[in-house]
Symmetry: C2
Subunit: 187 residues, 2 copies
Amino acid sequence: MTTAPGKRPRRSDPGRKERLIDVTLDMIAEHGVAGTTHRKVAAAADVPLGSMTYHFTGIDELFTAAFTKLADTTADGFEEALGSANRPEEATEAVVGLITGELLGSRRNVLLTYELYALAARNPALRQITDSWMARSRTALARHFDPPTTVMLDALIEGLAIHRTLALNPMPNSVVRDAVTRIVTPR
Amino acid sequence: MTTAPGKRPRRSDPGRKERLIDVTLDMIAEHGVAGTTHRKVAAAADVPLGSMTYHFTGIDELFTAAFTKLADTTADGFEEALGSANRPEEATEAVVGLITGELLGSRRNVLLTYELYALAARNPALRQITDSWMARSRTALARHFDPPTTVMLDALIEGLAIHRTLALNPMPNSVVRDAVTRIVTPR
DNA sequence: GGTCTATGTGTACACTTGTACACATGGAAT
DNA sequence: ATTCCATGTGTACAAGTGTACACATAGACC
């Protein structure tokens, strides 16, 4: 079998790098950045240790790649959910859906966000990721709401996602909807 | 006199344990939990390495002690600020003051909170700290606001504190006040 | 077939970490 | 002055880490 022209000849495991990134995110969600090592990721992905430093220059690059994917995926979903809304009530409902949905509300993603924020505070490369993530979210919101409301919503979304996930008793969706409505509808 | 020159005093440093806790919090704020080690804390506090394991059984106990102090201090300030309010407008203003003030809004404390949340997600002892911290905050708010509003405010406070600290351009206090007012004053 | 090279692997190493524990010592009790 | 021991210290060590790098090998090219 010859390789198709224009494509670089690939050996046994194409897409391995992508899989390593996914496994890394799972690892971070479960054990935190502190508990995520080359060896653990390699074992979980059933890949030799040397493959880590082959695909990623250092462990920092691994983390950066993982969090880049997280931010991109989340921002994509964010834009998609808000983009399909036309009337204000639809936008409001889209925000509620985001907060209560998997993308922002799942335990996994909230934990990953913590880890990212904690790391980004001291790492310029990661800081850039969070900055552009926030910028995309704000822009998506700004298509539907005025500037101050956009900022408030952005903050509320963050706080609600956290609380729904970490609080002892889960917050009902109706309360989430009420909160968003109060912010969106000034007196 | 009692201490030979160049030699470390062997005895009696009361309050050393407390100082170690404070230095640990500074260390975590600056380098994260991941970058905080026995040796670094010992060096920063000008204390021998052996003193670490003497005062704290293990490094987990050190972190637990540090975060316990953080949570207690914060909850105290929270209760104090809200306790002195009598009329609803005063309570609202107290909440705004908390968000924009040092206690909740300072970069240091926001970073420490991230680290605590990230750790608490996987550590039962720390989880208990965050739970009782949240419970105290909610109770303090509940003296002034009805149950759903209390929950919403709790989330909004979290989100606003985070955004004010991490966002590229600082959010004006007036926007914070507006957001709190919108939540507090349902239509 | 026979080379050659990009792609991938196994292993070794220097370094850091938490922790244990033998030992020193200041000062109270006598 | 001497004894004695709680309080505190110095040091050693096993475990785990990121990373470098010599080596293997599957397929492309002639």
